[in-house]
């Protein structure tokens, strides 16, 4: 029997696995996708190779790219971008790592009126040490500027926004992103000549512009020193070598293992998690293991799907409900001068508006930008699209991240219309997007207006709002923790209210949409706190956050361990 089984090696699961392995627990980490052991060969800077939803290396499907991707039931015009594989959606994320708005936590002493009433069941101040821990481990650093950020900052200053210099969000303000991206050093960001960019001549972000296609920069760097700190370059290498850089126990990683069932047994008259079964996607074989504790971290769509397919209790019918997605929109301006929007980190500047949400500058290579521009109710096609894209490096794009309300009819459930796949009934994602709350609608309109104002102030010749249909990039709160037992699935420890020893450690555990900021850092801080709770509740291990100094994933000891283990 294992101590802990973690389902999913993405942004949250890898964190729990590393933290518990570092404490010496026997952790089995199961991942439905593949491992990508040689990303330099397996990934590509070419957009169709990486991001094609059916055939790209970052699709939601088998890592071999054989056969169709795994299906979801999307009953409306919407698009979902999640990746199966070690690293999960952190493989294609931008590395943006802001903290959540303090107003969405239970201890907020200010005016609560502007915020969603579905708060976290504990205080912001309690989470801060966990933020600091993760910010050190990844690490999170202040983003460097390129041309597009210079434009963004110019616009932000001209519309009178304040410059935020601290990590905590307290007022309307702009700032460079706090990114899980190593700052450029040496030749990085100063040349496009490959031989000058080989590690260690270049270290950190080389400004290649391919964040959504996976980071393999700088060329020749050890896996744990890749510029973008996806968990495949940070937490996962640490988990797999916890016996080398710490007095821990290396995690056992099994890939191509699609978990199909959570097992329970009665204990004290209540169900408790006892193990999992999975299907080997390459062969169709099945396997089962038992554990003292099971942690779900399969993502905000697959976690509730697995819960429901396992027939686990759902007495208040909130499993899968309350999906929040930041109801993104995109605003694009054509600038008079060079912006370099296809270069540099995909997002290195942002502005936050407590009670409304956030927006951030976004840069993409041409195919993903074309897809962005052509999507939405006012999306561009024809000569207008060609005209807009006639010089990619004179565009400036801003993505809106709405502070959207938890609503019960935004949900993941089991599809009754799509034929089940070998892993059970598939997930159906329902987004009745004409039924947003007045607060959510107001917030999105406010942010769009502000973003358009900023682009004009930055010198845009013209500005277009795309009014995006639901594009699911940030998905949260589908097995939410909450203050009330009536509308939440998890308690304040992220443990299931009705199944002991079952925890959730991905975005679905979040209580709400965080007030607008990008979710990964908060999920990772919460996953660290959850790991600590698991260790204390079921293994008698004393808490460590705030008491010990964390080891960074770029520490020389980790680099040695990664090299020795040939990871």
């Amino acid at each position: 029997m294992r101590d802990v089984i973690v389902v999913g090696a993405g942004g949250g699961g890898a964190v729990v696995a590393k933290e518990l392995a570092e404490r010496g627990l026997d952790v089995l980490l199961l991942e439905a996708g593949t491992r990508f052991p040689r990303p330099e060969r397996e990934w590509s800077h070419l957009e169709n190779e990486a991001a094609n939803p059916a055939t790209g290396s970052f699709r939601f499907g088998r890592g071999s790219r054989a056969g169709p991707p795994w299906q979801r039931d999307l009953p409306q015009y919407s698009y979902i971008w999640q990746t199966a594989g070690c690293g999960g959606s952190t493989l294609h994320y931008f590395g943006n790592s802001p903290r959540a708005m303090p107003g969405v936590f239970s201890d907020y002493a200010g005016d609560r009126t502007p915020y969603d009433a579905h708060r976290f069941p504990f205080g912001y101040r309690e989470l801060v040490p966990y933020y600091e821990w993760v910010e050190h481990v990844l690490p999170v650093q202040t983003a460097a500027m390129g041309s597009k950020e210079q434009h963004f900052f110019r616009g932000a200053q001209r519309i009178g926004l304040a410059h935020q210099t601290a990590k905590d969000i307290t007022r309307d303000a702009f700032r460079p992103q706090e990114n899980a991206i190593l700052q450029p050093r040496g030749a990085a960001g100063r040349t496009n000549v490959r031989r000058r960019l080989v590690y260690p001549k270049a270290q950190g972000c080389t400004f290649c512009g391919y964040c959504p296609l996976g980071c393999v920069e700088p060329p020749g760097s050890p896996r744990n020193l890749r510029a973008k700190r996806s968990v495949d370059a940070s937490y996962l290498p640490m988990a797999l070598t916890a016996n080398r850089w710490a007095r821990g126990r290396a995690v056992t990683l099994v890939t191509d293992a699609f978990v199909t069932r959570i097992h329970t047994r009665e204990e004290g008259g209540r169900p408790r998690a006892s193990g999992v079964s999975w299907r080997v996607t390459r062969t169709g074989a099945t396997a089962t293991e038992e554990a003292q504790v099971v942690v779900l971290a399969a993502g905000s769509v697959e976690t509730p799907r697995l819960w429901l397919n396992s027939g686990l209790p759902n007495p208040n019918d909130w499993v899968g409900r309350g999906l929040t997605d930041h109801w993104h929109d995109v605003v694009v301006g054509r600038m008079r001068s060079y912006t370099g929007t296809s270069k540099g980190p995909s997002s290195a500047a942002r502005a936050d508006f407590p009670g409304y949400g956030s927006f951030e500058q976004v840069g993409l290579p041409p195919a993903l930008l074309a897809q962005t521009l052509a999507s939405g109710s006012t999306g561009m096609v024809g000569t207008r699209l060609k005209s807009y894209l006639s010089d990619i490096d004179r565009l400036l794009a801003v993505a809106v991240l709405t502070d959207d309300d938890v609503q019960p009819d935004y949900r993941v459930r089991l599809s009754q219309t799509v034929t089940p796949d070998p892993h059970g009934a598939v997930a159906r994602i329902e987004l009745p997007y004409r039924n947003r709350t007045p607060r959510t609608v107001r917030n999105r309109e406010f942010l769009v207006r502000k973003a358009m104002e900023l682009l004009r102030a930055a010198g845009a010749r013209d500005v277009v709002r795309l009014n995006w249909a639901p594009v699911l990039l940030h998905i949260h709160s589908t097995t939410r923790m909450g203050e009330s037992e009536s509308d939440s699935v998890l308690d304040a420890n992220a443990e299931a209210r009705w199944v002991k020893r079952l925890f959730v450690a991905d975005n679905s555990a979040l209580a709400n949409s965080l007030g607008g900021p990008n979710p990964t850092l908060t999920t990772q801080a919460l996953a660290t706190r959850t790991a600590e709770r698991i260790a204390a509740l079921y293994f008698g291990i004393a808490p460590w956050v705030g008491r010990e100094t964390p080891v960074s994933s770029v520490d020389p000891a980790v680099t040695r361990a990664v090299r020795d283990a040939r990871i």
């Binding site: 070419l46 059916a54 009953p75 700032r175 460079p176 960019l197 024809g382």
Partner: protein, 189 residues
Amino acid sequence: MLAQLPDLARLEGWLDDAHAATPTDVQQTFEGLVAYVVPGPDRYSRQQGQRSRTPGGVAAGGADVLIRTLDAFIASRPPFSVTVAAFLNGLSPQRRGPFRSRFANLSVRQKRAVLDALVNSSEEGIRFLGGNLPGLAAFACYSEANAFDRRRRRLRRRPVGWRLSRYDGLAEGRADLKGYFRGRRKADA
């Protein structure tokens, strides 16, 4: 959901046409779609009444990429692209033109009406499909897909979408570092 689209097309009587469709019919339908999203100097763009002097989606090979993507997205019989073409043609009014595909003969305004009809369909799968087709077509036209030799893992030529967007092309890094805003390399604690 998408797997049920052939059944829906069959209900409308469109799938019989789809089964009878030649590869040319399907190809023409998607050429008509990529010309709508990214027009060029080609005959599909001329037929729709909106063209452009620079190469468009047809020259970029966007139709081939889109067909391959749709066929890979879901395993179905007939191939998924044939079903999608059946929807586009089935919703298209008759209009005189040189193509066997009804959709390819339409004007820009009529093509938009067909895509709007898909997005506003009462059938869930059709809404999903119709909404995402323009974005996927744009992605296909501006990507490297039709200029990439997957076996040798190298580009055969500069992709049309890169020329259209004046994209610099592949590089491991770029010389665009401008330092740190107000010289601050670290946030306050």
